[in-house]
């Protein structure tokens, strides 16, 4: 019984070059599979984390109809944040009221390099409470965080760089009050932040809630209450559990998956496309493996004919080739997963620097600069099994074709 596996191993040793070429094809395919899976999963994981920490929290409570009209950021769709506080405190949630509004940021030459204005979305935050939910405050790289009542503005690093803003630069914000009247707010850049979420670094503009409340004449109303349950793994369920209470207040609870729909859409599209990428990798590896296996089998047709003439059964020959291919698959899988893990280590530890590519567009992903891999051990295990399984499958097919020849034809095979 041990004869066949032993002979297969001897054959592998005898045809070292062929064995290594075939195993190399397998290991390359598996290496690519492991790296691709690692990076794509890493981007997903980090994007979700950065969405939560800088943009969406676990979800947001808004006035009914606000989300449907979010493009225009209708200030009239506002609500009293105090209404939601008892419910949120009872649920053990951290919360941060905000006012989001559209406006133009206007700046002038000296101290800015040029006169100019840019339209954008402004976010008025409670300087103290916001840090309970978001990490924006902790991303300051220059200046200081906002203070209640102070007419300060904190800008994203890329935005500040683009317009030439420095700490202390005066700016104007042209917008509208709750009643729709034209309004201009005089602000001074007090801080510049650089956070891992590119949306914030690219276009974030934050001012104190109290200032927005006064100038927009909101009368204490806000446009959103952001809700967080910290790092709780049941965060999504906890937020969903608030829905009934929120509806009772004639408000709507919008979870992060809806708020970050652009990311979720790209993530889902990516799941489909990464499946295609992986399929292509497998096809390429499969073609390589089948080609080398076919060559290996065809160059031994006469040898097989002789073995059959000496009385070796087809079943034994088939078994010999399956053992050989499993051996090649095993070598390829060991090499592939080992190299994959070796290359993945620096990707997990240091990441890849994509900052120049991601500055103008992050394609919906919420990563900035570094793209990190993750240790996805289930993918590594799948890769290992695929390597062995694919080789055996291809060998079965090739051997079947050879065994259809009769012995004399095999012996005469050129």
């Amino acid at each position: 019984m041990i004869f066949i596996p032993k002979m297969a191993m001897l054959n592998l040793a005898r045809y070292k070059k062929r064995t290594m070429i075939t195993a190399g094809a397998i290991s390359y395919g598996l290496l690519m599979y492991i790296i691709t899976r690692s990076l794509l999963s890493g981007v997903d994981t980090e994007s979700i984390q950065n969405l939560h920490l800088y943009e969406t929290a676990a979800g947001r409570i808004m006035a009914e109809g606000y989300w449907a009209n979010r493009e225009t950021m209708p200030l009239e769709k506002c609500f009293d944040p105090a209404l939601t506080v008892p419910m949120l405190e009872e649920a053990g949630a951290a919360y941060a009221p905000r006012i989001s509004f559209n406006g133009d940021l206007i700046f002038f030459k000296d101290p800015f390099p040029e006169d100019g204005s840019i339209p954008g979305r402004f976010t008025a935050v409670d300087p103290e409470r916001d840090a309970d939910v978001f990490e924006v405050k902790n991303s300051l790289t220059e200046g200081q965080w906002l203070k209640n009542g102070e007419q300060g503005l904190v800008l994203g690093h890329w935005l500040a760089e683009d317009i030439g803003a420095k700490i202390g630069s005066p700016v104007l914000v042209e917008t509208q009050t709750l009643d729709g009247y034209a309004q201009v707010i005089d602000l001074e850049v007090v801080g510049i932040l650089n956070c891992p979420n590119p949306e914030i670094t690219r276009s974030g503009m934050f001012l104190p809630l109290s200032v927005a409340n006064d100038y927009l004449e909101m009368g204490g109303m806000v446009t959103e209450m952001n809700v967080s349950f910290g790092n709780s793994s049941a965060s999504d369920e906890q937020f969903a559990a608030l829905a009934a209470d929120v509806e009772a207040l004639k408000l709507e609870a919008v979870p992060w998956q809806v708020l970050g729909a652009d990311f979720v859409a790209i993530s889902q599209a990516k799941a489909g496309s990464s499946g295609m990428v992986i399929l292509l990798i497998l096809i390429i590896a499969g073609v390589g493996i089948s080609n080398t296996m076919l060559m290996a089998v065809y160059e031994r047709v006469r040898e097989l004919g002789m073995m059959r003439a000496l009385g070796m059964k087809d079943r034994q020959i088939r078994s010999l080739f399956l053992w050989e291919s499993a051996g090649i698959g095993l070598i390829g899988s060991v090499l592939g997963t080992a190299m994959g893990m070796l290359i993945n280590w620096p990707l997990v530890r240091f990441g890849l620097d994509y900052s120049s590519l991601l500055r103008d567009s992050s394609f919906g992903y919420r990563i900035q600069g570094q793209m990190y891999g993750v240790w996805d051990f289930s993918s590594i295990a799948i890769a290992f099994l695929l390597g062995v399984g694919l080789s055996v499958l291809v060998a079965m097919f090739s051997t079947h074709r050879i065994l259809r020849l009769n012995i004399t034809a095999s012996l005469r095979f050129q």
């Binding site: 225009t72 950021m73 209708p74 200030l75 009239e76 509004f101 559209n102 406006g103 133009d104 206007i106 002038f108 030459k109 040029e114 006169d115 204005s117 104007l172 042209e174 917008t175 509208q176 009050t177 009643d179 729709g180 009247y181 034209a182 309004q183 201009v184 707010i185 005089d186 100038y215 004449e217």
Partner: protein
Amino acid sequence: MFMRNLILFALLMLAAMAGAQSAEDIVRELDRMQTFDRLYTEGTMISTDRFGEKRSTYRAWSRGARDFLIEFTNVEERGQKVLRVDDELYLFYPDAEDIIPMHGSALKQSLFGDVSYEDITEGRNTLDKYDVGLMGSEDVKGLDCWKIEMTATSRDVPYPRQVLYVSKQDNILRAAEYYARSGRLLKLVDVKKVEMFAGGRIMLTEVEMQDELRRGSSTVMRIDKVNVEPVLRDDLFSLRSLY
């Protein structure tokens, strides 16, 4: 002697009272003079900012103080239309073949140069929307003008405060200032040319609007052709007519 002086003083006071106009009267007359039952115009808008100059041509129809339709005729924007009807504003883009209703902050966007959509949403009926008060007199380009402050009482207007300069001689608007809620001056309007029509009505045929928040940014609106009381299609001021 004393009695004669007293009678003379009384007569002068009566004459002054008879001749005096309130701010409401001035603004009401201003509205009347600038409102046509039906009107067709063709014009040019020239916007200048730090990037250079841009020109657009248009044709426009209006009915009374509320209904208004403008269609751009220059190559770049040909076929784009803006309709104001029933106090609502709609945009039509021929490429998209879609009508977009404009609300809220979207009205702040520039229609052309320094002229925003909200600038054209204001119809006449000024006294329904503003409290007006006479601030005194001021000389504007050599003309003695009433200085009238208008404070918004309605949410349907973009500017909470305006100051108008109306010539005492002919009751024609000569200049205006638009202010933000915070009191900051936003826009300056300079009336450069006026055309007179029968019935004491007038049309401001060249107006320059200067954005005081954006240095060097201004827009000139010039009317090149006017047809007063044209025959208008019944459905001209309807969404259907935009297609």
